[in-house]
Symmetry: none
Subunit: 401 residues, 2 copies
């Protein structure tokens, strides 16, 4: 298991470059038993050639059988154990919509819900109201004022919003209001530590006002708050690894996670070609590049096997341009699987390759789920990738005499 303390202790300076290409939701499943996965169906001569010269395996983002959300899955890729470094849902949602979260802020994920005349929950998602309705309701909720704090309410989508309280002396360590069952009322926010007492009261005051404002709305006549927390203040990639790090990602969520780890988030376009151009333009300026490809995941969530195949083939075409930059280490991996068959993130381990001069290539010559299952890395925790990248750029001193 990776250990950030060990990385901090052993890291030494180097001029070498590490590129981590994250093809979101890359792992897949056959649509029919015995058939190919998306990656196996795709024609990927460049990735296959790289697999033949590299070290392959199947990475496990969180743990066996655990389907990761994007936040924890990316933390694991960057070597931060997601079971140890928890990020509140509120913080993740706020970062996900590009909200400029301050250190003093406490953020909560909000869900519109439906309650009956007794105040008991009848639908935890308020019939999945359309995003347009959410925007209207959020405007109403912005009318709430509380003394001593600034309040931000932001639409995410459908029944989801973000609530951020900003002010001095606010603290995390708070319970959630969602009882996660029907026929009972929302719970009050309670402080788990004495320092959070006032913050709990503020959230409860906000909820009481929201209840009044929404009383006549249908079906979204109430709210639940989940994951009420501050930015956990994770040690940065530079502190842990000594790596000047940059993120090339067009979606707010991934830019947010990168920011949380102190990466510089570079301006880039949505197209893969634009991301590669951004990489080329800044290649001299950083040690570590996180390059994120989103559309494979979206195609998987849409259940569109063929579209996912063709995006993978498009990524493959851009691999030579990345190799032309001669990064000392190139990792091709993903945060999790998103099989078109399931139309969801899944727990399946993720095809991964690491290429470097010192990687001790295995005999895998096909970048695929089957190929990677025969690789010398075996089935390994995703948090192992960063220590391997560090080692392969000769950035880690010997442990002990």
């Amino acid at each position: 298991m990776a250990d950030l303390e060990l990385m901090r202790e052993l890291q030494i300076a180097s001029e070498s470059k590490i590129v981590m290409l994250v093809i979101d939701g890359l792992g897949g499943l056959p649509m029919e038993p015995g058939g190919p996965t998306e990656l196996e169906a795709a024609r990927t001569p460049n990735l296959d050639h790289l697999a033949a010269r590299g070290l392959c395996g199947l990475s496990v983002p969180i743990g066996p059988g655990i389907t990761p959300g994007s936040g924890p899955a990316h933390l694991a890729l960057f070597g931060y154990d997601p079971l140890k470094y928890e990020i509140g849902r509120g913080v993740l949602e706020a970062l996900g919509i590009g909200f400029d979260l301050h250190d003093e802020d406490v953020a909560a994920r909000g869900n519109f819900c439906t309650v009956d005349e007794k105040g008991l929950i009848t639908d935890r998602r308020a019939g999945r109201i359309p995003t347009e309705k959410n925007v209207e309701l959020v405007k109403l909720l912005r009318g709430i004022k509380l003394s001593g704090v600034h309040i931000f309410v932001e639409t995410v989508k459908e029944y989801r919003f973000v609530l951020v309280l900003r002010g001095e002396g606010l603290e995390g360590g708070l319970t959630e209001t969602d009882p996660q069952q029907l026929g009972v009322p929302p719970l009050p926010v309670e402080a788990l530590v004495p320092e959070a007492e006032r913050t709990a009261q503020l959230f409860n005051q906000w909820i009481a006002q929201a209840r009044k404002i929404l009383a006549d709305q249908r079906p979204a006549n109430m709210v639940n708050l989940r994951g009420l927390a501050k930015n956990p203040g994770l040690p940065s990639m530079e502190e842990v690894y000594g790596l000047r790090s940059a993120a090339i990602a067009s979606y707010p969520m991934y830019r947010g996670v990168a920011k949380l780890l102190g990466m510089d988030v570079l301006d880039t376009g949505e197209a893969l070609e634009e991301e590669v151009e951004t990489l080329q333009a800044h290649f001299a300026d950083y040690d570590f590049f996180f390059v994120h490809v989103k559309k494979t995941d979206s195609a998987g969530e849409d259940g569109d096997f063929e579209r996912k195949v063709s995006i993978i083939e498009h990524v493959d075409e851009l691999v030579p341009a990345i190799l032309d930059l001669k990064p000392e280490v190139l990792i091709v991996t993903s945060d999790h699987s998103t099989p078109a068959l399931l139309r969801l993130h899944s727990w399946h381990p993720v095809p991964t390759l690491l290429h470097s001069r010192y990687c001790r290539a295995d005999q895998t010559d096909e970048f695929s789920e089957r190929g990677c299952s025969r690789g010398a890395l075996g089935r390994f925790p995703a948090v192992d990738l960063m220590p391997l990248a560090m080692a392969n750029t000769l950035r880690l001193a010997k442990y002990g005499a």
Copy 2:
């Protein structure tokens, strides 16, 4: 993960023998991409035959990407988690030069350094002075007396020496003096626990006198002390596993680690044939034998691929003589990789095989990095080896009803 408590609890008596043949620095890399490693280039019919009948895998000494020093790497082979059981550098250096460390001793690794007229460090290694100069300076430092303690100063090599304080009431839990940067003075030794207060003062008094004695020397006019600690008092192999254990190793470092774990360190010569003769002579007297081959590592550190190949071939020739003794378990492994390409210890996992009547042989028929990467043990933590050896000699009782 091995757990010493579990071993203590489950161990049962047996007459079976375990031989662990440690070919130091065995793991390698191809000199050219696609070429063979040292082990793959070597002709090893006996080891290949053993691999065909045994269970193979790639062992990870400390963790992914972590390059181990010899001390921690050997602890792992003997089932002691090296991240949990830390041995101070002073103790390791003292053991490494064969110093007879007592339980009451506090040992420090000393480095000669250079300071300017203001006492600020200008070279942390004093220009890597030759060992002869070190011997001269150590003679001068032996003139230092402190009341109530015996002091030992011993040359290691170049700028490195060992300082041992012996006396009643000495304690570890001390900071190091090396600030690990230039332009600042050495730090004082500070006690991290109240019991170590007096020991800290003694070390600081010694340093003050050393400063005076070395003042007119160039370039080595000052010292730094690192890893000031006592022998950690690890539980012995006999306590943990119930194994009467013997070490057959000619180099002081490995004899030292074996002694730390309570093994009997047998007299032996440096030649492999002599080590095998020692094994034969004492085979009836012990349950566990650690047989250490040093020269593969030295060849790797010299960058001499061909010499490493020929030493591996020589080891292979002696395997039948070991098998003739009919040990119930024979493990062939290494503490770490030392690829001639890197001329250094490295992080790469280590080819390993375990042969016993009950090992459930896999389909690997070649003892090599590639062969072992296909083995049924997969990529596994080195600390798993001892529990497997214990199990394969039927020395572990069932866990739970």
